[in-house]
């Protein structure tokens, strides 16, 4: 199934003006959904289909299955190995077209896939991982047998619902039954775009077409293909991705207009020209997964290429300090921002901070220091390497920080003069929508992009050769496990699926745009245990 959405121009987002400062020829990437199957031979599904020894190869299963699980190609004596990742499980019984009951020899058995049970964790449940893979593969909302909206962490976004989900008056999975064309017909009704500069300071009013951009991942922590795929996908969606703290690879130059240069405490690879060529520069004061600690690249991953980019010695572990030792006050902070603004007079400045108790004060201080974007990174966010104790125990999850900051900025009378971006635990389109309803303008994602590229959250990105699946690695052999075109398309598909879900929810809520959802906590409810 190929669905084109090339004709989809966002009403307010159609001004693809050439704003960047880059003198490098900029590439465009087509915003088009194409099916991209798993890059491994055996895709993992929620269910396992066993064909027993008494199968006679009659092919009946292939005739009845509506999902393509069973195939008996022309001229084959037996049906080929079931594509069980396509199976929808017991729900199929209701369709009357299930293989288990229709098999004349009763030679088919369907059970939960033990592999799927090994995937995931409470935050990223197995269903969420599989659903994200489905979105990346098809570009559309996953089928009902996969829970794609919430995880199993038992708190935060997983305890918050839109009221329409609870009342049961409407099923949020209704879209699944609609054809892609019907969905497309409805899409232009809703504006999912976002303005990033609200300061009226004569700097560009940068517009992105989706309320999402990509989080910083350094060259070194992830592969060049991962970085490029993120940049290309966000170019297609007229949004942004971020360099992280590992410098600015030359191969990113064709996407300068959609790249954010990150300036973090280690200043690895930061040069005037990398600040001048982009439209947004981000100061990273802290990272949600390891607040109060600096960045951390273990020696094994500091290959010669990485070291060259960072101006470091290969093989040594690289630690960024915490915090900026030149910033101990709002005035110092302003000095930092002024420095960037002076170097690049047309860029916007984003300030990325984690979420301590006084995050609201930090946000206000950042605004007065001149920030266009305040980016809150919650404590359950992703990382390439962090002490386990820091991931769980330091600073508050993003769900708490968003309303705290939103209300404080509003009370200060500056809420509409600054863009508030949330990250650190935004796993699903529903998380993003809830974050916006709690008070954010948009979100930054990271882990979900890695999942879309095939991450299984085995947590071994930090050491040795890095990611065994080639996503978060700089090992030449491992990097080749993932192709750039494949990865780009997976991420384009993911964002399409997210946008479809956002539009679907906004339509249910009767809202014309994503920006009109901001701060609408009246649409939300909290699930109480009692």
């Amino acid at each position: 199934m190929t669905t084109t959405i090339a004709d989809l121009k966002m009403r307010n987002g159609a001004k693809f003006e050439r704003l960047g400062n880059s003198d490098y020829p900029q590439e465009t990437v087509e915003r088009k959904v194409r099916p991209v199957p798993d890059r491994y031979r055996n895709a993992i599904g929620k269910f396992k289909v066993d064909r027993l020894a008494n199968c006679i190869g009659c092919g009946k299963c292939g005739e009845v299955c509506a999902y393509g699980v069973h195939l008996k190609p022309e001229g084959f004596k037996y049906t080929i190995r079931p594509k069980d990742y396509l199976c929808i499980g017991p729900a199929c019984l209701e369709t009357g077209r299930d293989c288990v009951s229709q098999c004349p020899e009763k030679a088919i058995r369907v059970r939960l896939n033990p592999n799927a049970e090994c995937l995931g964790d409470p935050r990223w449940s197995s269903d969420l991982v599989l659903a994200t893979w489905h979105m990346a593969e098809t570009g559309h909302t996953p089928p009902p047998h996969l829970e794609y909206r919430v995880g199993e962490s038992g708190g935060g976004f997983d305890k918050i619902r839109f009221k329409f989900e609870v009342d049961g008056s409407e099923s949020v999975t209704a879209d699944v039954d609609k054809t892609a064309d019907q969905q497309l017909e409805a899409l232009p009704e809703i504006d999912t775009g976002l303005e990033l500069n609200r300061r009226n300071d004569n700097r560009p009013r940068i517009h992105i077409d989706i309320p999402v951009y990509g989080g910083g991942m350094s060259f070194g922590s992830v592969s060049i293909n991962t970085i490029l795929a993120k940049a290309r996908a966000m170019t297609a969606w007229n949004s942004f991705t971020c360099t992280g703290e590992g410098g600015y690879p030359d191969r990113l130059k064709p996407y300068d207009d959609h790249v954010i240069t990150q300036v973090a405490t280690g200043l690895f690879g930061v040069r005037e020209e990398t600040i001048q060529r982009v439209r947004i520069v981000e100061f990273k004061y802290a990272q949600g997964a390891k607040p109060g600690l600096g960045g951390h690249l273990l020696g094994d991953k500091n290959t010669p290429d990485v070291a060259q980019m960072r101006g470091a010695v290969a093989g040594n572990a690289l630690f960024s300090p915490f915090p900026f030792h030149s910033v101990y006050s709002v005035e110092d902070h302003k000095k930092h921002l002024d420095w960037i603004k002076e170097v690049n007079p047309r860029c916007l400045v984003s300030v990325k901070v984690s979420t301590p108790t006084d995050v609201d004060m930090v946000a206000v201080g950042s605004y007065y220091a001149g920030a266009h974007i305040i980016h809150l990174d919650g404590s359950y966010g992703g990382t390439g390497a962090a002490p386990d104790i820091a991931k769980k125990n330091i600073a508050m999850p993003i769900e708490y920080a968003i309303p705290k900051v939103h209300k404080f900025l509003a009370a200060e009378g500056i809420r509409d003069k600054v863009t508030l971006i949330a990250s650190g635990g935004i796993r699903t389109a529903y998380d993003a929508l809830k974050a916006i309803a709690l008070g954010a303008d948009g979100v930054v994602v990271g882990t979900v992009e890695m999942i879309a590229l095939g991450c299984v959250r085995c947590s071994t990105c930090e050491s040795g050769r890095g990611c065994p699946r080639g996503i978060a690695s700089t090992d030449p052999e491992l990097v080749d496990l993932m192709g750039l075109d494949w990865a780009t398309q997976r991420l384009i598909n993911l964002q399409n699926s997210w946008r479809e879900q956002m539009v679907s929810v906004l339509r249910k809520l009767g809202l014309p745009s994503i920006q009109s959802l901001r701060g609408r906590t009246d649409f939300l409810c909290y699930l109480a245990d009692e």
Partner: protein
């Protein structure tokens, strides 16, 4: 530059049967011996190591459990013959508090003596009971005390144990009336405590004493075990005594560390007086079972002059109640006790030691935030030796009352291999505490706090779920969970 406290760790692989989380299933009889076999490509050489292990006639008959569940082989096999499943033996380990992941993490820390570092974000539940409902705060950009990683070497983890007079009193002729204070300073806010259940193997006690010496802290031992401790380590031992013991343990009291413990009871004042006759500078600490009314008893004992109090919660960190059900968690009990002492005006004179349920490095920091001066580590030390917490830990309490119970060890108890080799057990305990110390410094550094003494009772440096949830979600309509459609 002054000497810095550093815990020297040594990689010491465990000698017990390791239980891993993932088990591989391999349908070898269907293997086509194709040329695209995924096994040699494993990033961690799991298949190769397993083959060599299986071929080794001297190797233990048990799986290696080295798989990281990256699924590369599972998804790559040309015939789909490989799969993974979660090892039920792993899920069976521990209980609802001492979870399998926690036990496994403790083993790794005891192996390596390093802070556990991993990729990807946090994987667990959003929050939980007890310590899991607290987040420590961090300081962002505008805190002058904050000194970051470069100042980390200067973060002090030392604490003082003993009576601390708030002021000095002088007589009219200028002589100091206040008796001189004898504080014990230890460089780690943790002492090594007796296990939750009666582990009678002397090897564990000796290893604790030896580890305490290496760590420059103290180990709590029953008096009958303490007498077996070699002279080299006896100076780090805190013997637990009762009134009738004192006379026959004169030598031990003299040779042991500057602190002794007495089980709480009506005769503690008499016993303490006798101890001080033998060793005038001895610090007498009272070991109390944590109960709902412990705050009253703490105040009473403090008024009687007992300034070092060791509060023993059960192994899930809960109070023991009269009906046998677990009471409040120590985070709540400690906040009450700390608050009472502040109210009474002598919090700074008293040292509170807390044990029971201190299972992770973060618990040490959080217990101190809630009001403890230091913690006592117990079950975690056994886990470092391979213990899987297979007893019903919740019913056991480390107040010494259970120590006469009959031996209830499983014949295959994994720590049996450790007790005959004290140096090995010592190294693993030191490694564990080295990893904890490193993690404590990480947290202190993130909080912008330069010494752990300042963390005590500093609830402003913590975020409590109940409070933040009310602030963040207070205006959301609350709906019973049951109303959510599946």
């Amino acid at each position: 530059m002054p000497d810095r406290y550093h815990i020297h760790t040594t990689v010491t692989p465990g000698r017990f049967h390791r239980v891993g989380k993932f088990g591989g299933v391999d349908w070898r009889e269907d293997c086509a011996r194709c040329s695209e076999c995924v096994k040699p490509l494993c990033n961690y050489e799991v298949h190769e190591n397993e083959t060599n292990h299986n071929r080794d006639p001297l190797a233990a008959v048990q799986p290696l459990y080295e798989c990281k569940a990256c699924f590369s082989c599972v998804q790559g096999c040309t015939k789909g013959l490989l799969s993974l499943s979660v090892n039920p033996e792993y899920l069976d380990m521990g209980d609802e508090y001492w979870k399998a992941d926690l036990i496994h993490s403790t083993w790794v820390q005891a192996d390596m003596g390093k802070i556990p570092v991993s990729g990807a974000g946090y994987r667990g539940p959003f929050h939980g009971p007890g310590f899991d409902s607290i987040w420590t705060d961090m300081s962002e950009i505008v805190r002058p005390t904050r000194d970051g990683i470069h100042g980390r070497e200067y973060i002090s983890t030392s604490v003082d144990i003993g009576p601390k007079p708030m002021r000095l009193v002088f007589s009219a002729d200028g002589k100091m009336v206040t008796p001189p204070s004898h504080l014990l300073e230890i460089p780690l806010p943790a002492i090594l405590d007796i296990p939750a259940w009666p582990v009678r193997e002397i090897g564990v006690a000796l290893a604790r004493a030896s580890a305490a010496r290496d760590l420059q802290t103290m180990a709590v031992l029953f008096a009958e075990d303490a007498v077996a401790v070699p002279d080299r380590d006896i100076g780090s031992v805190v013997p637990i005594l009762s009134g009738e013991d004192i006379e026959k343990r004169r030598d031990l009291i003299k040779k042991a560390s500057g602190m002794v413990q007495l089980l709480d009871g009506p005769e503690v004042a008499t016993a303490a007086a006798e101890i001080r006759k033998l060793k005038p500078r001895a610090i007498v600490s009272i070991r109390l079972t944590l109960r709902p009314n412990t705050a009253d008893r703490v105040v009473e004992l403090s008024r009687q002059g007992f300034k070092v109090l060791h509060l023993c919660a059960d192994q899930h960190g809960c109070e023991r109640t009269s009906d046998g059900m677990p009471g409040r968690h120590i985070k709540d009990a400690l906040r009450e006790i700390h608050g009472r002492l502040v109210q009474e005006g002598f919090r700074d004179e008293v040292t509170l030691i807390t044990s029971g349920g201190i299972a992770l490095a973060e618990h040490m920091a959080k217990a101190i935030i809630c009001g403890s001066d230091l913690v006592a580590v117990d079950t975690a030390l056994l886990v470092s030796l391979g213990c899987r917490v297979c007893l019903n830990a919740h019913s056991l309490l480390i107040d010494g009352a259970d120590r006469q119970s009959p031996e209830s060890r499983h014949p295959e108890c994994p720590i049996k291999s450790a007790v005959s080799d004290v140096p090995y057990a010592t190294r693993r305990m030191v490694n564990l505490m080295g990893a904890w110390h490193g993690q404590l410094i990480e947290v202190l550094g993130a909080m912008g706090i330069r010494e752990v003494r300042r963390l005590r009772g500093e609830v402003g440096r913590a975020i409590f779920r109940e409070e933040i949830e009310k602030e963040a979600f207070g205006d959301l309509e609350r709906i019973p969970l049951q109303r959510v459609s599946a």
